[in-house]
């Protein structure tokens, strides 16, 4: 065989292999997720293989700290004009409002039939598909309360009493989603920050830091979720040492959602990617995934009628649900006011 002919045949076979390879390779879907979703033991590693099997596609999770850092990631992507993912998962109400500009608003919505009434009423912006929800609340350590001869507060305003001075662990509203929720909750209830600032022992940078201090018995109350009680019961707290505190004024709700990232479906596989991304959002609302949420995310499933584990049965539900301010400008003003008062 002539050398040039051999070279051409070799090139053609390589090109043919390349074409076959591209036809055979599954479509890649990339998801920006909060860290505990993507980490081993989180929801992601459990549901992603199931979805991959269903769709015949490949899914990659890119973890990025917490929900608020996801917005930074979307903003930086928008700045460089290149999105690194097609889906973002883990934005709550205020975060969703801030992220609206980076989200494809043509899909999703919280008005779907199968959603729980609390979720439907959350009023997420267009484009967001809610998948779980929970109520922010103080968790109490009854052993500490007993030691300090304290009774559970019944109202938010009880927290201003002298016996609660330096007895609360909160999160910094500038660096933590639960911290921001507390600040907005306090504003909604008309709390006086100049009085409240004497009551907290510390403002931890995030929920994990605050809860870690609470478990070291640094203070009897920590700002967390009502479902933290279910976690403790599931992990051997038979005596009911850790208990969620429900206030007469009501508790704020947090609804977490996923969405498609704007301008992320480019290239020859864009249409297929978009269809797959939409089916992933549907998959999040499937009974199969929703049943896993209580013991993976320690949140309530967004879909109604999903059976809850026994540990959730004793978790108190608030009589009144408080919806927090979600307007980014108003939140900014509120935070500025908070900063001026507490500094």
């Amino acid at each position: 065989m002539r050398p040039w002919l051999a070279a051409v045949l070799a090139l053609l076979s390589v090109a043919g292999w390349g074409v076959r390879a591209s036809l055979a390779s599954p479509v890649l879907l990339t998801i920006y997720a909060y860290d505990s979703f993507a980490a081993p033991g989180g929801l992601g590693p459990e549901i992603i293989p199931k979805f991959e099997k269903k769709c015949g596609c490949q899914v990659r999770l890119l973890a990025s700290g917490d929900g608020s850092q996801l917005i930074s990631r979307l903003a930086l992507d928008a700045e460089r004009g290149k999105s690194g993912a097609q889906i973002v998962i883990g934005l709550d109400g205020p975060a969703a409002q801030r992220a609206r500009g980076y989200i494809d608003s043509s899909v999703g919505g919280s008005g779907r039939e199968e959603l729980a009434p609390e979720v439907k009423a959350a009023g997420l912006p267009a484009g967001f598909v809610p998948y779980d929800f929970g109520y922010f609340a103080f968790m109490a350590d009854r052993d500490q309360l007993k030691r300090q001869n304290l009774k559970l507060p019944a109202r938010f305003s009880d927290l201003l009493r002298p016996e609660w001075r330096r007895n609360l662990i909160l999160e910094d509203p500038r660096t933590s989603t639960p911290g921001l929720a507390f600040a907005l909750y306090a504003d909604t209830l008309g709390a006086d920050w100049s009085k409240l600032r004497a009551q907290w022992l510390t403002l931890a940078p995030g929920w994990d830091g605050a809860y870690g201090l609470f478990l070291k018995a640094e203070a009897p109350l920590v700002w967390s979720y009502t479902t933290s009680q279910a976690y403790h019961q599931e992990h051997g707290d038979r005596s009911g040492r850790y208990q969620a505190v429900i206030f007469e004024e009501g508790q704020p709700i947090q609804v977490e959602a996923a969405a498609l990232v704007k301008n992320s479906f480019n290239g020859p596989e864009g249409a297929r990617q978009r269809a797959l991304a939409q089916s992933f959002l549907e998959f999040l609302l499937s009974k199969e995934v929703q049943a896993l949420l209580p013991t993976r995310n320690w949140m309530y499933p967004a879909r109604k009628g999903v059976a809850l584990p026994a540990s959730f049965e004793g978790v108190p539900k608030p009589a009144r649900v408080i919806r927090l301010e979600a307007d980014p400008e108003k939140i900014k003003a509120s935070l500025n006011q908070w900063t001026r008062t507490v500094q």
Partner: protein
Amino acid sequence: MSLTSGFRWVATIWTLFFGAVCVGAPVSALFSRLHGGTLFDPDILSLVRVTVTQAGASAMIAAVIGLPLGLLIAAGGAAAGARSARAFFFNEMLLAIPFSVPTAVAASSWVLILGRNGWLARLGIPLDWSYSLKAVITAHVFFNAPWIALWVAQARDRIPEGRFEAALTLGASAFSRFRFLEWPAVKWSFFAAATQAFSFCVMSFALVLILGGGPPVQTLETAVYSRLRFGTLDVGGAAACAAWELLVTLLPWAAVLFFQARDPGRGARPARERARGVGSFGARSWLPGVAFFAAAVFLLPYLAIFPASWRSIDIVPWSKEVLPAVAVSVKIAVTSAFFVVLTALAAVMSLSSPRLHPAVTTALASLASLSGGISALVLGLGFWLAFGRWVDPFEGSFAAIVAIQLALFFNVAFRIFWPLAQEPRRNLLEAAATLGADPARAFFEIEWPRWRSSVAGAFALVAAASIGEVAAVSLFYSEKLVPLPLLIVRWSAQYRFEAAQSASALLFVLSSGTVASVFISFHWRGARD
């Protein structure tokens, strides 16, 4: 071109490349977002005041403790007679270990000690210092006093025995021995270490966030954190905080180098040899024991983490999750330490060119300290802004983590090597050349013996600090690149606090073990030689 000048050219090119890629480009990208108005925002100016106060108080207390502690350690080594080398080495090791303690371990330990349910409270000592500026300063002092003492002890250890004997023969008092023998020998090491301690305190962020208790205890670094971390992505505000941080850390460095260059006695550094003189502490038999306990005191708080970790040791998934994370941490630490040492050696080599005017050398040495004033958060964001178009750090970037750690720790290695480069054994090198030795052999026979322990020490310190570093890795990790500090953060977010505590203890063992093993191996080697 001679071999030496060839090496110097390569070293200069490498240093410039490092400066441009790891510091220049990220800082320029970030500062291009800086607006003059933001720079003088009253909120930011108030943060500058709080930062300088906090770092100034921390560094000053650490310096006041570190200077006598360093002299005591050196005196303890000198007074121990035949056991002097062993005692001095061991105390040096104890002083070096706190530098490597991961901030997560330090914060957790201090909560266990100072917290409301901590050891002191349970012992009935009503020291309500937790979550306040006092807690932050205490933690910073325990970090930095041993660091300053280490530098002072090493400088004091270089004073030849004969000088002390002469002083004693002439009837010099303890104060006179300190004033005329010890102070001139240690002062520039002391000022350099105190300046470095000030920089560490300015850029400290995990300790301030966890132990400070929130506003009003906040600094420029925590402000950068809140501006970048929480969705609003206030790059302009973060850049303004970073600019102030850079200025605040760079000015003391420039001042130290400026005055050092004008000190007529700065060049008169004798070659390193074991000091046996009695110095200002005198020759007392109890000195070695006291020196050991004084050095060990600064490690004690971190041991608080072990009893709490031991209880949950059986619930940690060691082989499935911890070992892979340890492997990633070690890989990052070894690579970062290698490049830090290489780059600092290259910088020292290029800056010690005899062709450079002393003023230019001083200016460039000040500039070399620039990276020491930039935090990982600032570098990380700058790196993203500068290179985000070409590389996607969100997919995990080992190179980006190493590049940021290189910039973070370069200053530590540079400060260790710079004094050695100031005192080359030119006469011996020239004699070797006259006798026909090639430059490489002359270097390894004459210079390397006095460099190798510093190179190994710098490598160990950087590797140990890198093992516990979490800011750079949290910006550029991926699911295949999760080091141990990040695993601890992740577990905490999943309610796995007890397992996180045990993994923190392992992190402490790894980082302190790195420093200890290098010190021990060099001690054995020294004893064998």
